[in-house]
């Protein structure tokens, strides 16, 4: 049972989330408190020591990040909620933090709850929050990869390529590590972007700085000596990109 707190400054949206949680996970989640401003949120978290916190980004008197800075208890899992904060959403993606868009979709909420047991572990959330704060301040240059055993923080420049099989993505890192994450490649497509990253194939996304050579048949040899195919449909575009650069 997850002892849960909802931090949300609009009363109707608070109620909606509570009802939705009751519908989706009556057994797993128990809502024990609400807060709508920074001070209340801080006190509530430190006092009730929740397992799970839903946190709206925009609060009446500040933002969710103000709350995260001030709390002393941090051993809970965190799911952000937002109506429309593109900047923050991008930072969440780099930090591998979960978020829900308002109005909240039933299936998405269900999926987020289902992911919770995969992410137990206190230092892990701590790592993610630290990364988030970093990513909000500057252009993200690292990516958090959540796995069963740990949260890996990887420099974007160290990623050689990503390969997907089904709903898993394997990251090949320059130091030789291979890190498998239970997320589809698609979820990284909009944060691993040009000019460094290129989606050359349904199942492959590569860091073009690690290309060693590419052949006429459409095979790319990476600096780690692995070979990756370019999809037929992307060949022309890719070759002209390699020739002329980003247009």
């Amino acid at each position: 049972m997850y002892k849960t707190i909802i931090i949300e400054d609009e009363y109707r949206l608070r109620e909606a989330l509570a009802i939705l949680l009751e519908m989706v996970a009556p057994e797993a989640v128990q809502v024990v408190g609400y807060a709508e401003n920074i001070g209340d949120a801080k006190n509530l978290i430190d006092r009730l020591k929740p397992d799970l916190v839903f946190m709206d980004i925009m609060l009446t008197d500040g933002t969710a990040f103000d709350v995260l800075e001030q709390i002393s208890y941090r051993r809970f899992q965190l799911i952000f909620t937002t109506a429309y904060e593109q900047h923050a959403v991008k930072a969440f993606k780099y930090s591998a933090l979960d978020y829900l868009l308002k109005p909240i979709d039933l299936q998405e909420l269900e999926a987020a709850i289902a992911r919770l047991p995969l992410r137990d572990g206190n230092e892990m959330v701590e790592t993610q929050i630290n990364e988030l704060q970093r990513n909000l301040q500057k252009t993200p240059d690292r990516l958090v990869l959540p796995t069963q055993e740990a949260m890996y923080v990887i420099q974007l420049a160290q990623i050689i390529r990503c390969e997907t099989s089904g709903s898993y993505t394997t990251f090949h890192v320059a130091d030789g590590r291979k890190i498998m994450v239970s997320k589809p490649l698609k979820s990284y497509e909009d944060i691993l972007l040009l000019p460094d990253f290129y989606r050359i194939h349904q199942s492959h996304l590569i860091n073009i700085n690690y290309i060693e050579s590419y052949s006429r048949e459409g095979m790319i040899k990476m600096k780690d000596q692995t070979a990756v195919p370019v999809a037929r449909a992307k060949k022309e575009q890719f070759f002209s990109f390699m020739k002329d650069g980003f247009m």
Binding site: R12, A83, R216
Partner: protein, 633 residues
Amino acid sequence: MAATGYNLRFKSADSGIILVKKALNQARLAKSKEDEAICYAYLALTYRRMLDLKNFTSNANAAYEIAKSAKSERADAHAAMAMGLLKSFIEDSPGAIKYQLKAYTVFSKLKEYSQCAKISADISYLFSPAAPAKVQKYAQEAMDYATKSGDAESILHARLAMGSYFMDKMLQGDTKTLQTVIAFFKETIRLAEENESQIVSKSNIGVAYLNLASLYMDGPKPIPEKEILTNLEKAIQIGRRYQLKNIYRNSTGLKGQYFMAKGDYETAKQLFEAGIAYQQMLPYQDNNLMASFYDNLKALSAKRQDFKSYYQYDTLFTTYNKLRNAESTQKMLQNADARFESDKKIVRIQQLEKDNQLQHDNKLLGFGLSAILLIGLVFMYRSYYFRQRYYQNREDILLKEQANSDLQLKLMEKETLENLSEKLSLQRRLLASQMDPHFIFNALGNIQSMILKKDTAPAISFLGKFAKLTRQILEQSRMEMISLEEEILTLKNYITLQQLRLNNGFNYDIVCEADVDPQVCIPPLLIQPFVENAIEHGLKPLIHTGEGILNIHFSLESKAKYLICTITDNGIGLAASKNRKREDSHQSMSTKITGERLEQMQKANMNAGFEITERQDATGEKGCIAILRIPID
């Protein structure tokens, strides 16, 4: 040292390059521009041999640039030679001839006979087949210089050029010379065999064997079978020993075709298959070679009327042909690179078009004359320049592709411009500034909540108002002017929605003074951003008290012809709101756009503008006041 490195090119290109690069460094240290240019020229030639067009181009250009400043004839000559070969490599015949003639003149001045012989032979090839007289002249000069130099390699080179001229002549129907030509080649081969150790370019020996064999095949019946087979066998040996792809391919292919013509299909088939097996043994793939072998096998099956194997070979041929075409795409990219570096690209393109036309005509003629065997032979005759010929067809496609990409570029430019103007269009920005995404999604969230709680009546009412507001804003953002009455209706709708959302945590009042005509026209959606500001930043933190009040007041300044709109709230005030350091990009954008719009209006009416201040009136109330001065006609 550079020359030694250059001579190593046939044995081991890599070590040759290293040696020349060392020489280059020494030349740099010795500050000898002359040697530097020559080293670059040697590097260019070595890269040419490796078919590395990119490095070939850059080194040839470097040689030429440095030679300009070196003021040395030797440097000039070497650089011109490198450029000439580059031009010929990328099929710029006029350019090639220009540079080669320059190199030729200088080298003959310098009395470097072996160089003269080679260049003269190359010039002779360049003029073929368009100007037979010149072909002959330069081939003859090449022979003369070669004899003078006494260098076996140059002699072979020159003799091959001459031989090529003879064969050109024969192709045009001059059969009388056949015996002379055969004798000439026999002599050439004799000389080459005698001095084999001195000849670095082994492929030239192979070419000589091949030429002789094909001459025999083409000659009068009965053909001297033994001679043909001996020569082909020798060519095959050389091809294998030195891994010369061209020689091996052409000799095996020619041998196969010989047996095919003779009617010995089985032997021919074995030969073609042996060629394929040999190629598959090699560590690299040569799709071109594989395709041509399978093409031959195809022709063979057609002759034997063995349609089943014809089909099999055809499948394989198609596969390799496709691969070969993919290769040519890559080559085209490279050629395009080189092309952009070429200074006279327009002239060259025109020339190439002519060449291509010629090439096409030749081909059609060939098809007309007689089937596959002859075409095969025509290719063989050109074995030395086979590779270059092979590129010509691609130029056509390349030109088309370039035209296409130019067109695409133009289209893209156009699109970018259109996008830009669209982005800048005030209408779009206005709409964006009014429809705060945050507001939209929160409103939808509120509706969701009411549905979940089964509060049907409020949900329907909220949804109706939200739809109405969306429609109003969509419509008004397209208009130049709207009446004050309409603007007030939109404002009321918006404020009611905010009240519902914030649990009726504030009240509002809109007052119009009696002398203000409700039908007066004003630009649309000017006031809403200020109202939004007052609610989100001033009143929202106070909704629990339920004492928030929003006042909107319209009055007229009739003399100056403008409308005064005052928006007053009793919220937390400007300073406190700023302290909350909420970054709201939407808010700043919509206020900025309103500011810009009022500034525009200032051009027509000096008094247009707005100001936002902290409330400091006698009542002691906190909050904030926004005053807008909106011009009216």
